[in-house]
């Protein structure tokens, strides 16, 4: 085990050095996001019950060193969490639900009821890429995104969504990935997330391309932790409205009969409104999808372009079978060059034993 880790470290260091030596461009950017909110939660939820106030200040940094044949990239965040934001993080940690790319640090020894202040560190991505004429190798923490829809993609065994914020965030995987371009719009993509035990890892081969105006892909994957092998197909096309579909059939190692998961959706617009709707069927239960373990789920979003600077959107994710879900009403204003001001209200139904919890707040993000 130690030997393998050492070999991986040497490989990463060599690739990083190659990227640095070959570098013809270094780019750095980032943002600061300040979010403050008031919240309410009934007893039994995943956050502290009653009324509360929380805030978070997040510094995000991205670094890119790009050469002709090599690239190194990093996207890092650090945040200070206060009030119920710290409490929520603390409870998540207690429940073992800390996002995989996150590290919580107690600013002070935690009192019995949880800390009043915490820090969080997140490594969103950290990878190197080497290009040859016929293939590219990407190694490190990266987002392998095969997703067609907004929320669900059964064929994508790598992408995990963090839905705790105002919009879904895709979490990175510590992966090795080989891509073979087969023309401008087609390619073969082989990826593996071996983890600490390769037998429990996830692996996938995916052939994608643009055929008759339809973006489509066929994939075969192995989900070691779910102990199943999958075959999948996904596509995105346009018939006046955009629509997409995603289907995967899983064969469990146990010899039990196979199951399938499928998602389909569409987006369209009328006047100043943009609408998206998505449905997800999970025939594999919690073994196949921990985040959405129930059979029937829907997502809807309507965005009103109130002006060229202001968008107002309402989005809902609803677990029909489990009668739980989340709704977010969000207004985003381009307040100044590189600055966005958001005001939002968020309601969560059926989280834990609580019937409802809610949050209302404002956020301002400045990019640099």
């Amino acid at each position: 085990m130690q030997l393998r880790h050492s070999a991986a470290a040497i490989f990463l260091a060599a690739a990083l050095a190659a990227a640095a030596q070959d570098s013809s461009g270094l780019a750095m950017g980032g943002s600061v996001l300040e979010q403050a909110y008031a919240s309410y939660s009934q007893p039994g939820g995943l956050t502290t019950s009653g009324f509360g106030y929380g805030s978070s200040t997040t510094l995000g940094l991205s670094l890119d060193a790009k050469g002709q044949r090599a690239r190194a990239s990093a996207s890092l965040e650090t945040a200070v969490l206060d009030g119920t934001a710290a409490q929520a993080a603390w409870l998540l940690a207690k429940a073992g639900q800390v996002p995989t790319d996150e590290l919580f640090v107690y600013a002070n020894p935690a009192p019995t009821g949880g800390p009043g202040l915490m820090m969080a560190a997140r490594i969103r991505t950290l990878y190197v890429k080497l290009d040859a004429d016929w293939a590219s190798l990407i190694a490190g923490r990266q987002v392998i995104n095969y997703q067609r829809g907004a929320i669900w993609s059964p064929t994508d065994i790598f992408t995990r969504l963090d839905l705790t914020g105002l919009s879904p965030v895709r979490l990175g995987s510590d992966a090795l990935r080989l891509t073979f371009p087969l023309g401008a719009t087609s390619g073969l993509d082989i990826a593996g997330v071996p983890g600490t035990d390769p037998a429990q890892g996830s692996y996938s081969a995916r052939l994608s391309g643009l055929v008759l105006g339809v973006d489509g892909a066929l994939s075969a994957s192995r989900d070691g932790s779910g102990k199943a092998s999958n075959l999948g197909v996904d596509f995105k096309a346009d018939l006046g409205l955009g629509f997409y579909g995603d289907f995967t059939y899983a064969l469990p190692d146990s010899g039990a009969s196979g199951n399938y998961r499928a998602a389909g959706g569409a987006d369209w617009s009328f006047g100043d409104f943009i609408v998206a709707a998505e449905y997800y069927y999970n025939g594999g239960g919690p073994e196949a999808d921990l985040l959405f373990p129930d059979s029937h789920n829907v997502y809807g979003d309507i965005t009103w372009r109130a002006s060229e600077l202001l968008d107002v959107s309402l989005s809902v994710i609803w677990d029909i079978s489990g009668e739980s879900g989340t709704g977010i009403l969000l207004a985003s204003l381009s307040a100044a060059q590189n600055a966005t001001l958001s005001v939002y209200g968020k309601a969560i139904w059926g989280e834990g034993d609580a019937k409802i919890s809610g949050q209302g707040g404002a956020a301002i993000e400045v990019s640099f």
Partner: protein
């Protein structure tokens, strides 16, 4: 005849609002001269969009490369949009959003949307530069624009039934262009709907000498479907006929 592009937004490439004029014998000569100005084997430039909305202005900076009129790749570099990329391959276009780490094919209802909040739609960017195939072209006369003599050329959309198989219909029912009679650059253009409503205008504010050709380097676009907005597109560091790596124009490069 080789396709022609006149006014360009993201340089006769991505956001291009290509335009051309041709009529009878003389039309061919004008066409050839405009074509000589606007056509390129490859191109690289730095661009800036200044989108004015009421009293507010937002800047979008970009680096762009293009091969002919069919392949283009644009990457935005201003802080708010850093890493947002566009790939155009013939009549297909994809956009990559770095925050969402998602690529989306521009199609359907999205075609009518303004690119990056600008006054130029994706449909404008994707319209084929082969105007002779899509429009009937006629000379309407001569007029001066900012003191320069111009040919006034009108393009009327052909009905879909007579279009070449597989080609998309014209984006506008009618376009009127004012073409500089000396430099063969479109200095002004108006685009109309079938109802006769004026949908969009463009005006070339600066023409630059690039090698042996004239090229519009600052152009202002106004969408009449929006309230009190305009978009100024300025190009700098324009290089024509440069060596470009073919791999830049792939899905792999878009999502790198």
């Amino acid at each position: 005849m080789q396709a022609i592009k006149l006014l360009s937004f993201v340089a006769a490439i991505l956001f291009s609002l290509p335009s051309a004029g041709a009529w009878a014998q003389t039309a061919d000569e004008i066409l050839a001269k405009v074509d000589a100005n606007m056509s390129f084997a490859s191109m690289r430039y730095t661009g800036r969009m200044e989108i004015t909305i009421g009293g507010e202005t937002r800047y979008k900076d970009m680096n762009a490369v293009a091969k002919g009129s069919d392949k283009a790749f644009v990457e935005f570099t201003n802080p708010e949009d850093r890493g947002t990329r566009y790939l155009k391959l013939a009549k297909d276009m994809w956009i990559y959003f770095p925050k969402e780490q998602d690529s989306v094919k521009i199609s359907g209802h999205l075609l009518k949307e303004g690119m990056m909040g600008s006054d130029v739609s994706y449909e404008d960017a994707l319209e084929s530069s082969d105007f002779k195939a899509k429009y009937g072209i006629s000379l309407k006369g001569k007029e001066a624009v900012d003191g320069r003599d111009c040919f006034v050329v009108q393009l009327d959309a052909k009905v879909p039934a007579v279009l070449p198989k597989g080609s998309s219909p014209a984006a506008y029912d009618r376009r009127v262009m004012w073409i500089d009679a000396e430099r063969y650059v479109v200095l002004k253009e108006e685009m109309y709907a079938k109802s006769g409503k004026l949908l969009k205008t463009s005006a070339t504010l600066e023409v630059q000498r690039v090698g042996s050709r004239w090229y519009p380097s600052r152009t202002e676009y106004v969408s009449k479907l929006r309230n009190n907005t305009k978009t100024l597109f300025a190009m700098s560091k324009i290089e024509m006929d440069v060596a470009l790596d073919e791999r830049q124009f792939t899905m792999s490069a878009l999502t790198k």
